[in-house]
């Protein structure tokens, strides 16, 4: 809606003039001071002194049940900030460095609310990124909207694109994931017969219903559609049912533990079926460590993959050096997000969160680390959604995730299992 944009433009009118003069003075001081002092002391120590660092908030669960991915996100956030700073920081702000302020949201919605509040009130932030998990991100985004601090996130919840003006989602949305999964089923066989098994929780039910609605339009037949109770002791009876359904592709909408049991059981039964494990825990390095060789050939969907382009491969190599694991979707996405923020800061020439938000809303990149996403382009629509965003279909090949779908993003052929 065009109306959404207006209020923020009006609100920004007042502070603009004041901060512009201030910034110009600062810039002037930075330049003259820098030049003068460079002769006397050498330029290096002065660069830190010259420009105030720009505070970027990072909200991730580094303890609690979601900690595993959260810790990886923090590592990626640090890597991204180092990359921006090593490349000279924000040049329009006198080479100002990004300063990452990490906050642990403890995998808890209540803590997320208080931590987001505390982070915003306790620090002069230019922008925030986080929290990867949708349940937490929805809350952090609400707090950010109220405080008028832009938040950029890898979370895929479609709800983040409803009635928000400070929330930016550069990657594919949950609704796009279902469609991609169905289209991938046709890679395996033209006559795609899909068995959908899902845990009987909000996550499983809503995602499976999305698949059911889209299936006829994609020419995919769903031959089995079955909820199960999460946290079972034995997947054999369920797989027995899948076998009886005659499906050639299995969609399993499950959390990690159930999925591991399901995959292992399919292998034990010797069932010849393509498995699509979706996203989340399935496209994490840990999945392969848990499942081992049985994971080879399994398909999934991700919002980012480390082979999408050369920049992504560079990021992957560096991330691997630091953590020992390949850059998973949220990690790589986070590096791209940080560069999107850097691009916005550069154009805003201001650390003011409202101006950063306005600059983000007009972001339009098609090269460099900021554009390192499936589709290769980032431009936000009025709902904060990347108009070019799309998921990438991936497959476990040789203990690594290879992009196989769609054609434009495929970096390896489909491994038929």
């Amino acid at each position: 809606m065009p109306g959404d944009r207006k209020p923020s433009a009006i609100n920004n009118a007042a502070p603009t003039n004041a901060s512009r003069t201030k910034l110009n003075r600062r810039k002037f001081l930075v330049k003259t001071g820098g030049v003068l002092a460079a002769g006397a002391f050498g330029a290096v120590p002065l660069r830190g002194w010259a420009a105030d660092p720009i505070n970027i908030g990072a909200l991730y669960p580094s303890t609690g049940s979601m900690a595993q991915i959260g810790i990886g996100c923090v590592a990626a956030a640090k890597l991204a900030v180092d990359m921006v700073n090593e490349a000279g920081g924000i040049k329009s702000l006198g080479g100002a460095k990004l300063n990452l302020i990490v906050s642990d949201v403890q995998s808890d919605t209540t803590v997320t609310r208080t931590e987001t509040d505390r982070l915003i009130t306790g620090n002069k932030l230019s922008a925030i990124h986080g929290c990867y998990a949708s349940a937490l991100t929805l809350i952090a985004s609400e707090v950010c909207e109220r405080a008028r601090v832009p938040i950029i996130t890898g979370s895929s919840s479609d709800q983040l694109n409803k009635g928000r003006s400070y929330t930016f989602t550069p990657f594919a949305r949950a609704s796009q994931f279902a469609k991609a999964q169905l289209q991938m089923a046709k890679l395996v066989s033209e006559q795609a017969k899909v068995a959908v098994i899902f845990e009987n929780t909000a996550f499983g039910t809503s995602t499976s219903n999305g698949l059911k609605e889209l299936a006829p339009g994609e020419g995919v037949e769903i031959v089995m559609f079955e909820p199960y109770s999460a946290g079972f002791t034995d997947a054999s009876p369920l797989i027995n049912k899948v076998k009886a359904s005659g499906a050639n592709t299995l969609f399993s909408l499950s959390y990690l533990n159930d999925l591991i049991l399901i995959v292992r059981t399919v292998k034990q039964v010797g069932l010849d079926i393509a498995i699509n494990g979706g996203s989340g825990g399935f496209v994490m390095p840990d999945f392969y460590k848990n499942v081992g060789k049985a994971a080879e050939g399994l398909q999934g969907v991700a919002h980012w993959n480390h082979d999408v382009n050369e920049d992504a491969q560079k990021v992957n190599a560096e991330f691997k050096k630091r953590t020992g694991e390949f850059a998973f979707e949220y990690a790589g996405g986070l590096v791209a997000q940080t560069f999107m923020l850097a691009d916005a800061l550069e154009r805003a020439a201001s650390a003011d969160p409202k101006k950063v938000r306005d600059a983000l809303s007009t972001l339009d990149v098609s090269s460099g680390y900021a554009a390192m996403a499936p589709g290769g382009k980032v431009k936000f629509g009025p709902d904060g959604k990347n108009v070019y965003g799309r998921p990438v279909g991936v497959q476990w090949q040789n203990a690594d995730l290879a992009s196989i779908f769609p054609k434009e993003d495929a970096r390896a052929p489909l491994l038929k299992t």
């Binding site: 909820p227 199960y228 990690l256 039964v269």
Partner: protein
């Protein structure tokens, strides 16, 4: 159709063997010490973590680590009985309930802190193997687990019926006061019973490790079935618990297969209600202890 049915029964029996190890522990403690151990599932979890760390740190096969997890948990059981349970034994049930419940919460949260909530699996050469017979298949890891579980249950039965200590345990469970008059030291008997029950939980943990993930809440999954089996098989009756556990496993499997994948527990609890309606003291009641 027959193939599917047979497969469902096999699946149920195999997982029922694990339920049996957990429920026999619960029923043994209840029969002898007369308390309900709500923390039994957490000891299964500890058994799993012991096997997990032995496998990842020293490359010891989870099945071999049984010889570590069982004695460690036996010792833990003796100590818990001596220092904690002994103090709350008396006419009042409340302190006992709170004690074992608190123990469960403590172990759960301690392991969350120490091991984090991550799923941990161990990969063995036989983890994904299965024997195929006709159209049926039998997963090797589960078959081994089932066989060892049955062997341990058999050993326990022999112990209870042929050794002095075993007889003393049964005597103490039937009437503590008379047993004391006959010169049986109940504290010693209780300590052995508690230790044995925990050793069985540890065994269940080690046997699960080749095919199931360890995580702090894993015990809760198994303890629920164990309690159902204990009630169905008559409280305190080891053989009853064993038979009921196998039945539960089969009922769950058939429920998932023929009713609905989210209905396994519905069938299990339906069966429990039926049993309670027609044989209120459980299936093992007539045979006595």
């Amino acid at each position: 159709m027959w193939e599917t049915l047979a497969q469902a029964v096999i699946n149920g029996l195999l997982i029922g063997g694990i339920y049996a190890l957990v429920s026999i522990g619960v029923t043994l403690i209840f029969g002898v010490v007369k308390i309900v151990n709500f923390a039994q599932g957490e000891f299964v979890m500890l058994g799993m973590y012991i096997s997990f760390f032995l496998a990842t740190q020293f490359g010891i096969d989870p099945l071999v680590s049984l010889v570590v997890s069982m004695p460690v948990l036996f010792l833990a059981g003796v100590l818990i009985q001596h220092f904690l349970i002994r103090r709350v034994l008396g006419p009042n049930d409340m302190p006992q309930i709170f004690l074992t419940f608190a123990l469960s919460l403590l172990l759960l949260n301690l392991s969350l802190m120490l091991f984090s909530a991550n799923y941990r699996t161990v990969h063995t050469s036989y983890s994904d193997e299965a024997w195929h017979i006709g159209g049926l298949y039998i997963p090797v890891a589960k078959l081994i687990a089932f066989a060892v579980a049955m062997a341990l249950s058999g050993l326990l039965w022999v112990f209870l019926h042929t050794t002095d200590l075993g007889r003393a345990m049964r005597a103490a469970s039937q009437n503590r006061d008379v047993a004391m008059l006959m010169g049986i030291n109940p504290n010693r008997v209780f300590a052995v019973a508690f230790g044995t029950a925990l050793a069985l939980a540890g065994a269940a943990g080690s046997l699960l490790m080749p095919f199931y993930s360890a995580y702090p809440f894993v015990g809760q999954v198994f303890v629920l079935m164990a309690f159902v089996a204990v009630v169905m098989g008559t409280l305190g009756n080891v053989m009853g618990a064993l038979v009921a556990s196998l039945m539960m496993g089969v009922a769950e499997s058939l429920g998932i297969q023929f009713v609905g994948a989210d209905s396994g527990l519905i069938v299990v609890f339906g069966l429990l209600l039926l049993t309670l309606a027609f044989r209120p003291s459980g299936l093992g009641a007539r045979r006595g202890r």
